[in-house]
């Protein structure tokens, strides 16, 4: 009896150390960390607040009525209560950051050996890439546009760099945010492989392409040009729209040659099922421009729908693709006064967009004309591509005076240039729990 009890006590500890569920793993191996980075619902499905707030689309009143209250508030640019709970876009963004940080926290415990060094670097590069791009999307949503002249006052987002949830969230400045984004993306570019097994995992070109986007947002065109160049060097192929079947429900295939990094957003407001396109934008396409048929579809009541997502049927594409990098480079050339370079890039791209034999290369004689051509084509090429919100913010900083409007049940809502509402409100519950400063709206 007593022997039994003492035996039990001795074996107690050991017996109870076993995992209650075999599927529970503590991160110990590189493959565990890679599995976190491959978790589709977090890593492939993206936030949607920026495209949802932009003017690429509109909703009919009926569709608006069917939306959640928070989505309705996002759509009509209300001042508060746009986001709440961990599944809102703020939560989506930061849980990516949390996963990336978890990976980065555990990585030093795994010894780097000759055998594992490639995948070790790959995992670290992916984590840095995830964190950098997430910070970029978050700062683009919740902070004012990058202001070259103002280093200290722009309210950035909290830069969480470890997975310790006990740390308090504190807001940084916009400049600190961009510095961190650049550091993460450059770090990632150094570690990532030239090609990864699928486009849902980042590669060197992904990091470079994003760096060109980030530098554009920072108005640093020389750097943007450098990274766009590098990206095109290894991933410069373009789709010929003549080879697409315009009759398909979604003519552009997933993981097409232009896709450099794949992400999509399933946000309700921008669901292809609801999205309607403004007729002015639709009418701006030449009838020989295949994008008019590939991107858009006619709906009853003279409405135009959108079917041109690079993610095919899967929500809206929010990754990055070669066409954007060409446009980035064209813009950098134009701003640097290299008109030939800019027009070359534009014409390379557009030649693949027009019906075979109908394309007449664009020409222009002044830098400003070239730039406006580039920006015009950027507007037409990157529809529902998660660049518009950033473009409005950065271009209005330069005096582009873009005002966007919504019409809901006859009531008009306007968002004037540099409105405070270009910085979305941080979820109220997060503000209450963390004590962070809310964006003035």
């Amino acid at each position: 009896m007593f022997l039994l009890i003492s035996l039990l006590i001795l074996s107690c500890k050991k017996q109870l150390e076993v995992k209650p569920d075999a599927k529970l793993v503590t991160p110990q191996k590189l493959s565990d960390l890679q599995a976190l980075l491959d978790y589709d619902p977090y890593m492939v499905q993206d936030m949607g607040m920026d495209e949802s707030s932009a003017d690429n689309y509109y909703l009919t009143d009926d569709d608006y009525d069917g939306m959640n209250e928070t989505d309705q508030r996002i759509y009509s640019w209300q001042k508060d209560n746009l986001f709440s709970g961990p599944n809102c876009d703020w939560g989506r963004g930061y849980r990516r950051v949390y996963y990336a940080n978890t990976v980065l926290d555990f990585l030093p415990q795994i010894t780097q050996t000759a055998a594992n060094t490639t995948s070790w670097n790959d995992v670290k590069g992916q984590a840095l890439f995830v964190r950098g791009t997430s910070f970029f999307k978050l700062v683009n949503g919740w902070s004012p546009a990058y202001d070259v002249t103002d280093e200290g006052t722009g309210l950035g987002i909290p830069l969480r760099l470890t997975a310790d949830f006990n740390e308090k969230s504190v807001r940084s400045t916009v400049h600190q945010c961009y510095d961190r984004i650049l550091a993460d993306l450059k770090g990632a570019a150094g570690l990532l492989p030239v090609q990864n097994i699928l486009k849902t995992r980042p590669s060197k070109a992904s990091a470079w392409a994003y760096l060109s986007r980030v530098f554009i947002a920072m108005h640093q065109y020389e750097n943007a040009l450098k990274y766009a160049d590098s990206a095109i060097l290894i991933s410069g192929a373009l789709m010929d729209f003549n080879s697409l079947n315009v009759a398909d429900n979604f003519p552009i295939p997933r993981f097409n040659v232009e896709t450099i990094f794949y992400n999509f957003s399933g946000a309700a407001l921008i669901d292809p099922y609801y999205v309607k396109i403004d007729s002015v934008l639709y009418n701006s396409y030449d009838n020989n421009d295949l994008r008019k048929q590939v991107y858009f579809t006619s709906l009853p009541n003279n409405r135009i729908g959108f079917k041109g997502s690079y993610s095919n049927y899967e929500g809206e594409f929010s990754g990055i693709a070669t066409d954007e990098v060409y446009l980035n480079r064209a813009e950098c050339y134009a701003r640097a006064g290299n008109m030939t370079g800019a027009l070359n890039d534009l014409n390379t791209l557009l030649a693949k967009r027009y019906k075979t034999g109908t394309f007449v290369p664009l020409t222009a004689s002044t830098t400003s004309a070239v730039l406006s051509l580039v920006l015009q084509e950027r507007r037409k090429e990157l529809v529902m591509r998660f660049t518009r919100w950033m473009d409005i913010k950065r271009l209005n900083k330069e005096g582009a005076s873009i005002t966007i409007r919504r019409l809901v049940h006859g009531q008009q809502y306007n968002l004037f240039p540099n409105d405070l509402r270009y910085s979305l409100p941080i979820p109220e519950d997060v503000i209450a729990l963390s004590g962070m400063q809310q964006n003035p709206r």
């Binding site: 017996q15 995992k19 569920d21 075999a22 991160p27 491959d38 978790y39 619902p41 849980r95």
Partner: protein, 1061 residues
């Protein structure tokens, strides 16, 4: 009250008839061990003489003529025999000890058996006779209407239907612990055959249950099976019954009338409701009425033809088809046999059972059950027990019932026909429109129609279960007072569940067709999903091991009685499960095809691409518990009793620091038998006992682990590499929930026990309950963490009365159980305060100050007299701002608290009449205090899902209607939030009180009389009718409150026989 009715002694006849007077001499012995019984009073009824046996049990008297000898001793069953001069002498009389006297009920805690007399805690003992008044295949079903303090909850979505003494937890498991033959039972409860049950004890308070530690917080149900006894002649028990269940009454289902629905569809069609579907996704299914209207608009048929066809459609009721083709009478057959016996040193019990159930939907359940148990007295001090139990069962799915048989989305239109005039299955709308599926392949594709009437036969779910349990035990008497027990039990249950979609099933055909690619040029088909059937199969094993060592101490003297136990146990529960799917499966050849899971293929009709799902999973869980326990009871002068118990658990489920904390769960209790005091001289009252107990039990949740970090969820749909999610971070503090309970009780007997009863009051507190703490989700992938932070309290009364109203040739006994319970949330953080999160009633609301399950509704401000719009309250005024009311404009504090969703009073009343060989039991149950939300018309569901309600015809249609209806007008387009508001408004809150005639059992008992040559010792015929309907309900809407969202179970009738010989 197990009665052994016959003494078995030998009876010899002889033909000595020469004398009138005779000397009758003989001996009185105890049955079984044959011990002589001295000092036994013998009465001779005719000559009115009395005598006493001497110490060796002998007696002798002179007899003239006939006389009747009678022995009426309280410790033995009454014995009576007619004696005459021809009676063979010596006459050996064997008296059968009373097995269990009325007041000497024994309760079993799973660790020891305790006479209820000496218990300080709250026990309910249920014996075979009461248990057997009902019929059925499972054990727990029968407990509901006869157990004090236990009820079955059919209204909330809580994790257990059985609740003992109300709730003790918010999020944690609320199921009571089931103990079968001394060890927790984890297997399928259907494996236990009711005929094997000897007795059931329900442990309700801490003094009774806390010996079970972290598993005891919700109460414990201890099931003890039949065993053999030493010194028992071979006894065979047979039982057989057939139970017939009526098809359900579909008229209870308040679904929209077919003609009403057809007119709604015509209205919607005219409004253009179906246009966007017909234009942009024309391949999606539409209802027959819409199809007709479409054909009319396209000029395929004339307007008159369409109207005529619609009129024919609308005159048909889908319910008729269900009555005619789907439901049938259910029949259950149940047979059982038990053989048991015992010699001086060995006893054994063998039993077997066979069940064959065929349900109202042609669903099948078959069970074979074999048990054997033996005990051996190896020496005077050492006893060995062994047992083995095997159950095999199979289940097979049947048809889909009303409301379950549904197309891809929504419900079938109320006028749908499942069969043509000849009763042949006809195709019915499912996912795709017939005009498309018939033409898309140009006639080369297999049939793409859905035939609901016959599809069930092609889509069979089957389950096979094999369960085995083996146990062995050694009991060693070390001395007069000490003994040692060792027990080991091994259990293994294996399940194989399969769903076979045969090649003809809609599921398989649809799957194959959807992924088929047609080469437009040559018409060739490429099947990306191979043609044939689809098989989903899952295999699960559950393995349990228990070891227990226990030291017993027991000492009895005139003044002091002490019993105590102490011991340790180790327990392991291992669960394995895996499931997989085969495409192109051929059930005859057992061959299957190969599939590309990586590529996304376009759907033949919709053109959208998706990957073929692999449907594979593997899981394993392993839980270990190590426990130490002790329990002691001390009684002084048979009047004053104190008891105490303590237990400590550790488990791999708990966090490190919870395991390391030495905080045992304990209880203590005391009782005072006033009835035995000399000063107790109260007229009419013959016994009185006071009890008090207090203690702490626990409630562990195997689904909450403290060590979790990652969970591998499968493969990424993109990279096909493993993907993992962070499920929990290290939560070292996480432990079990605690339940503290105080119990006060009075047991009494009046008028010489003609009225006996127990009144108990309890107060309990659930502490350290799993609750949520909010956290800034900027730093984590979660916005909350689970900690032991919440609390609830509950209190109530358990009253049980047993009366013997009439004694004599006709006897009438009444059993009344009255249970009152209220629970209140003391502390709980509400993650989201928006009122719309609390409208469900059946979900946990757990608002502080209210019950855990409570009904909240939007405040109702009547119908708008001008439009028939429902009006609510927003910012203190009546309002039609449905977006605000059903959105952030209504917080939980703005909602109307209607009342608890669980009953606060439960009664059961059983009356037993016995006349000669006949017995009649009538059981009535009632539940009071609960509220539910009744359903009504929801226009969104009506338009989109074809889900209508009879209230449709009572809706507001013109000004003035608001005076006699509260049902909103129909508007187009419908407004989802307007519908939501009405569906969850207080106008639909309904009282759930009811009284039900639960069952009636009629029995006819025959017992072998002295000298009768019948082969049967006893035989009983019985008839048991169950679910006899409501006697009273508080609502006037003809709704059975317990089944407001489902079809009430229909009446069933069992006819059976039990025999022993």
């Amino acid at each position: 009250m197990n009665k052994l009715f016959l003494s078995s002694f030998l009876f010899f006849c002889c033909n000595l008839l020469f004398a009138q007077d005779a000397i009758i001499q003989g001996k009185v012995l105890a049955y079984g061990n044959g011990e002589p019984l001295g000092n036994i009073v013998i009465k001779l009824k005719n000559s009115k003489r009395v005598m006493v046996t001497n110490p060796s049990g002998a007696f002798s008297f002179r007899l003239s003529g006939l006389d009747t000898m009678e022995i009426d001793n309280m410790n033995y069953q009454r014995f009576r025999i007619t004696v005459s001069s021809s009676t063979q002498v010596p006459l050996i009389i064997r008296l059968i000890p009373m097995e269990k006297m009325m007041d000497e009920v024994v309760v079993n805690t799973g660790y020891q058996s305790v006479p209820k007399e000496r218990a300080t805690g709250s026990f309910v003992a249920i014996n075979k006779d009461l248990f057997n008044q009902q019929s059925g295949t499972t054990v727990l079903d029968r407990l509901e209407n006869i157990s004090n303090g236990l009820y079955v909850d059919r209204k909330t979505n809580g994790n257990s239907k059985i609740v003992i003494r109300g709730l003790s937890t918010i999020q944690g498991p609320r199921a009571p612990l089931i103990v079968l033959d001394d060890f927790p039972y984890e297997g399928d409860l259907q494996n236990i055959k009711p005929e094997d049950v000897e007795s059931i004890s329900i442990l309700k308070d801490a003094a009774a249950a806390s010996i079970w530690g972290t598993r005891a917080g919700n109460g414990v149900i201890v099931i003890t099976t039949k065993k053999g006894k030493y010194n028992q002649p071979i006894r065979v028990e047979l039982s057989s019954n057939v139970l017939i269940t009526d098809a359900p009454d579909l008229s209870t289902q308040q679904t929209i009338r077919p003609a009403d629905f057809a007119s709604v569809e015509q209205f919607l069609y005219a409004k253009g409701f179906y246009n966007s579907q017909l234009n942009s996704t024309p391949w999606l299914a539409v209802s027959p009425v819409v199809e007709l209207l479409r054909q009319r608009d396209k000029g395929i048929i004339t307007s008159a033809q369409a109207d005529a066809a619609i009129n024919i459609l609308a005159s048909h009721d889908l319910k008729d088809d269900f009555n005619k083709y789907v439901y049938q009478r259910g029949i259950n057959f149940q047979q059982a046999i038990t053989v048991k016996g015992g010699t001086k040193n060995m006893n054994w019990n063998l039993s077997g059972g066979w069940d064959k159930n065929s349900g109202v939907l042609d669903n099948q359940y078959n069970r074979i059950n074999l048990r054997s148990s033996q005990s051996f007295r190896l020496t005077d001090r050492l006893e060995l027990t062994t047992g083995i139990d095997y159950t095999q069962s199979t289940t097979q799915s049947g048809r889909l019932g009303f409301g379950q048989l549904r197309p891809f989305n929504g419900l079938l239109p109320a006028y749908t026909s499942l069969a043509d005039a000849n009763g042949n299955a006809v195709p019915v709308m499912y996912q795709y429109r017939k005009t498309y599926t018939d033409t898309v392949g140009g006639g080369v594709l297999p049939d793409w129609n859905w035939y609901p009437l016959t599809d069930y036969a092609n889509t069979r779910s089957t389950g096979k279960l094999q369960a085995m349990m083996a146990n062995t035990g050694l009991s060693y008497k070390m001395s007069k007072t000490f003994s040692l027990n060792l027990k080991y039990q091994y259990g293994r249950q294996q399940n194989t569940d399969a769903v076979l979609y045969s090649p003809d099933s809609y599921f398989a055909r649809n799957f194959v067709n959807s992924y088929t690619v047609i080469n437009r040029a040559n018409g060739k088909l490429t099947y990306n999903v191979p043609q044939g059937g689809i098989l989903d199969q899952g295999n699960g094993t559950l393995e349990t091991q228990n070891v227990r060592g226990m030291l017993n101490y027991s000492k009895s003297s005139a003044k002091n009685d002490i019993t105590a136990i102490a011991g340790a146990e180790y327990r392991q529960v291992k669960n394995n499960y895996s499931s997989y799917r085969f495409y192109g499966y051929d059930p005859d050849l057992l061959t299957y095809g190969t599939v590309d899971y990586k590529t996304a293929f376009p759907n033949l009709l919709t053109r959208s691409s998706s990957q073929i799902p692999a449907n594979m999973s593997v899981s394993q869980t392993l839980n270990r518990y190590i426990s130490f326990f002790a329990n002691g009871v001390y009684t002084f002068k048979k009047k004053y009793t104190v008891s105490a118990s303590a237990r400590r658990d550790a488990s791999n489920l708990f966090g490190v620091s919870a395991n390391n904390r030495w905080s045992p769960l304990w209880s203590t209790g005391a009782s005072w038998d006033i009835g035995k005091e000399t000063f107790f001289r109260v007229p009419v009252s013959n016994s009185l006992k006071l009890r008090v107990s207090y203690g702490v039990s626990g409630n562990a949740d195997p689904s909450k682990s403290a060590v979790t970090t990652l969970l591998v969820t499968g493969n990424s749909a993109y990279t096909q590499t493993q993907e993992a999610r962070i499920t929990q971070f290290k939560n070292a503090e996480l432990g079990w929930e605690k339940v503290k309970m105080l119990n006060l009780g009075i047991d009494f007997g009046l008028w010489n026990n003609r009225l006996r009863g127990t009144v108990e009051y309890y107060y309990k507190k659930g502490l350290d309950l799993f609750g949520t703490q909010p956290i800034d989700y900027t730093g984590l992938a979660f916005d909350r963490v689970t900690k032991n932070v919440a609390a609830i309290s509950g209190h109530g009364w358990d009253i049980s009365l047993n009366s013997q109203n009439i004694k004599g040739v006709l006897s009438w006994n009444t059993m009344l159980n009255l249970n009152f319970n209220k629970d209140r949330v003391v502390k709980n953080y509400l993650v989201n305060q928006q009122g719309s999160n609390y409208t469900l009633g059946g979900a946990i609301s757990a608002v502080e100050g209210h019950p855990v399950f409570a009904l909240y509704d939007y405040k109702w401000a009547g119908l708008d007299p001008a439009t028939g719009d429902p009006m609510g309250v927003y910012q203190g005024a009546s309002s039609k701002n449905y977006t605000a009311i059903t959105g952030s404009g209504t917080l939980i504090a703005d909602m109307q608290y209607i009342g608890p969703s669980l009953p606060t009073a439960v009664i059961s009343l059983g009356n037993t009449f016995i006349w000669k060989n006949f017995s009649l039991n009538v059981n009535i149950t009632g539940k009071f205090g609960a509220w539910f939300q009744r359903s009504s018309v929801n226009y969104g569901n009506l338009f989109n899902n074809r889900d209508g309600h009879t209230d449709y015809s009572l809706r507001w249609q013109q000004p003035g209607d608001e005076l006699h209806t509260t049902i909103p007008s129909m508007i187009y387009p419908f407004n989802l939030r307007r519908d939501n508001f009405y569906t969850y408004s207080s106008v639909l809150a309904t009282r759930g009180d009811f009284i039900r005639l639960q069952y009636i059992t009629l029995g006819y008992d025959l017992k072998r009389k002295q000298g009768n040559k019948s082969p049967f010792e006893s035989i009983q015929f019985y008839m048991n009718a169950n679910n006899l309907g409501l006697l009273w309900r508080a609502n006037q809407f003809n709704i059975d409150p317990e089944y407001s969202n489902t079809i009430p179970p229909s009446m069933n009738l069992a006819i059976g026989v039990r025999a022993a010989f």
